[in-house]
Symmetry: C2
């Protein structure tokens, strides 16, 4: 006899209880639980692969696209990598208890602001089963309970991964409900999930535009959005064209399907000719669309529409815009930026200062590829997402983004006059 | 001929334009604008008072409660205090441009995280006209455009105050749209206001439970909630009873109508008898309700209901709960806390450590009155509200809460391998 699937409300209460229990754990205990979870995941490789095979069979029967199937597919190496990911998180510095600020007031009150866990972190995500272990590890490390709602297509894989992690955590003496997977994969549960006010302290949706829109429109819990990246590289008149070419090529083609890849090249008219001529060679295989000035240099380019400038292509297509000056470049970026990562290539200090000061994005780069805007590349150790919102966390989110700050005020009997 | 009242969408676009212009201002320019705004407000005292008289007349005709009329009423001293408040904000340290963190990656990329303005800050507030100048000053100081939506009842006062501030800002050479008042005081505009996505970067509602509920249920813009304070003081077995009495009295009666006043006293059974007997005297005039153990000591106390423990009275009524131990105290606080300010009075270091570690609130206090949880008392210089949420800002919010952080990444041609 199997027990009935718990309701979302029941899971929520269990997650809250686990988050309260986590408050009394030490960093060493949580690290030990992460090590045990990693070991349990490795030990469960066969079970995880069998579950994954069932998901894959369903996906293939359903005629899923090959990219979907690829993201879903696990093999022994990938499972080992997931376990290593959990161990890597264990090795990071514990954010909990860090004193962000501390001072003594004139009346003797000692005030400190201390990092504390958020409580229950909810993650809604799509097909990749590795998100289950990555998110669980980051949450547990930072003292949070993880309430995970993966996609229906990866349900069996996620169940197997979560069960292994929970077994390891339990063995290490921490409440296994610190990692809870929502097994009810109906579409309606997402809607219910984003409205679990009083349960979820922070929701992080990892998915496409329709999921983000659902969270913004229907969500009542606090959330951090991992949004689109319509990223620009602006090549200034004072750019070193060798460097510009290298950065543009890297930002576009090194991995075009990700949010920090470049989607539009903005180029100063003084260097548009020579730069675009070089790029015609080095961006071979990239579909180019541009404005009239672009097409004057590159007749083979298509005509860029308003829509092109506004679109995150996530593939080998690049929009090009030629501008008369820095003002026009900043205006173009300001108009179309999704607030993710924006780069300038220039040797002009004044232009760099203006671009970094006036462009409003999570990350602004000078003479470097947008592809560096990533938790790993910036040294955060691990990443739960890249926030394109301005409140709470902005840009790559590591452990710090999974904490809040509490005022601790200590006196010896002070009262307010 | 007067120009037609601009629509909310039009005001939003003007606020956005002003926020972009503010990005290129220096702190010195913004401070000069604040000084000019303060001077203009003082110079406009007669006009402000005339406008206020019109609001007061309407309020009295409409039979408004005397507390409402009191909050609305201005006099020359109050206008001068508003101007002084603006000057005090000018004197604070500029948060914009502060480097929160900075390091060099192994590949030579220099990474800094820099405080930047949020952009457009929306404030919805109730009757007090001084919020108009306070909020405008804090927003301008931190480089944000302020989009203000006060109550219909204070509309004439707010218009006069905003006009004076705008005239001063304009004179100092900053776009006066940095401070914009929504003059359309229909109820529906609040609903529209909280859904100005893409315009308002951060909404701070200052008002009662129905406004907060509207924001949570209908709002689609990012917001920070200035929520309820159902605050507790727990007097431990190891408390100094003189100190406990002083703190309890201060937390309850020094200003009972505010969010950081105590609403429930939790007391360890070992000291309940002597403490409650003292409090019967020193809390004279405070209506007491308690559990059976409380009423055994104080027969005059009423019976505390579940509802009493859950209520933020904001008046001279106090709920009392006697507990057997620290566990029960923490459990009671955890169950009823609104996450604002929670205090323990104790001489026991272990009890203090457990209370501050396990109680989940914006502020936890040891041997001090809850009334200290306030931006002024904690040295923030000024306060735009007290956040009871965990994301972005928690507890008293000063200038820092009105900023975001941007990654600035500088290289010399790095590309991602």
């Amino acid at each position: 006899m199997t027990s009935p699937t718990p309701t979302l409300a029941e899971l929520g209460e269990r997650a809250k209880a686990a988050s309260r229990a986590l408050r009394t754990t030490s960093g060493a205990q949580r690290d030990a639980a992460l090590e045990a979870a990693a070991a349990a995941l490795e030990a469960a490789t066969d079970m995880v692969l069998a579950a994954n095979a069932a998901d894959l069979a369903r996906a293939e029967e359903g005629g899923a696209a090959s990219t979907v199937v690829d993201r879903l597919r696990l093999d022994p190496g990938r499972v080992a990598a997931m376990a290593d990911g959990v161990r890597a998180v264990a090795a990071l510095t514990d954010p909990v208890g860090q004193v962000v600020e501390g001072y003594v007031r004139p009346n003797g009150l000692r005030v400190t602001r201390v990092r504390v866990p958020l409580g229950v972190v909810g993650i809604v995500y799509e097909n990749r089963p590795n998100v289950t272990s990555d998110a669980a590890a980051l949450c547990l490390k930072s003292g949070n309970a993880a309430l995970l709602r993966g996609s229906a297509g990866a349900l069996e894989s996620n169940k197997a991964v979560a069960a292994a992690l929970r077994a390891g955590i339990d063995k290490a003496g921490i409440d296994p409900d610190a990692v809870l997977l929502v097994e009810d994969a109906r579409r309606e549960t997402v809607d219910e999930f984003v409205r679990l006010r009083g349960v979820i302290d922070c929701l992080i949706p990892r998915g496409g535009p329709s999921l983000l829109a659902l969270v913004r429109d229907r969500g009542t819990v606090p959330y951090v959005l991992d949004g689109d990246g319509n990223c620009h590289v602006y090549v200034d008149a004072a750019a070193d064209l060798d460097m510009a070419e290298r950065i543009v090529v890297n930002a576009k083609v090194q991995r075009p399907s990700v949010c920090n890849a470049m989607e539009t090249l903005v180029v100063h008219e003084d260097v548009a000719g020579p730069l675009l001529e070089r790029l015609a060679q080095s961006l071979e295989g990239v579909e180019l669309v541009g404005d009239a000035a672009t097409r004057a240099v590159l007749p083979q380019a298509g005509e860029a529409t308003e829509e092109d400038y506004a679109t995150e292509f996530l593939r080998l297509r690049l929009a090009v815009k030629v501008v008369a000056d820095l003002d026009e470049a900043i205006a173009h970026v300001t108009r179309y930026s999704s607030g993710h990562s924006e780069a300038i290539v220039t040797g002009d200090l004044g232009a760099a200062r203006r671009f970094t000061g006036e462009v409003d994005a999570a990350a602004v780069l000078v003479n470097a590829s947008t592809r560096f805007v990533d938790g790993g590349q910036l040294g955060l150790g691990a990443e739960i997402g890249i926030s394109t919102q301005k409140l709470h966390a902005r840009g790559p989110m590591g452990l710090e983004a999974l904490t809040s700050v509490k005022y601790v005020i200590e006196g010896d009997g002070q009262v307010r006059p």
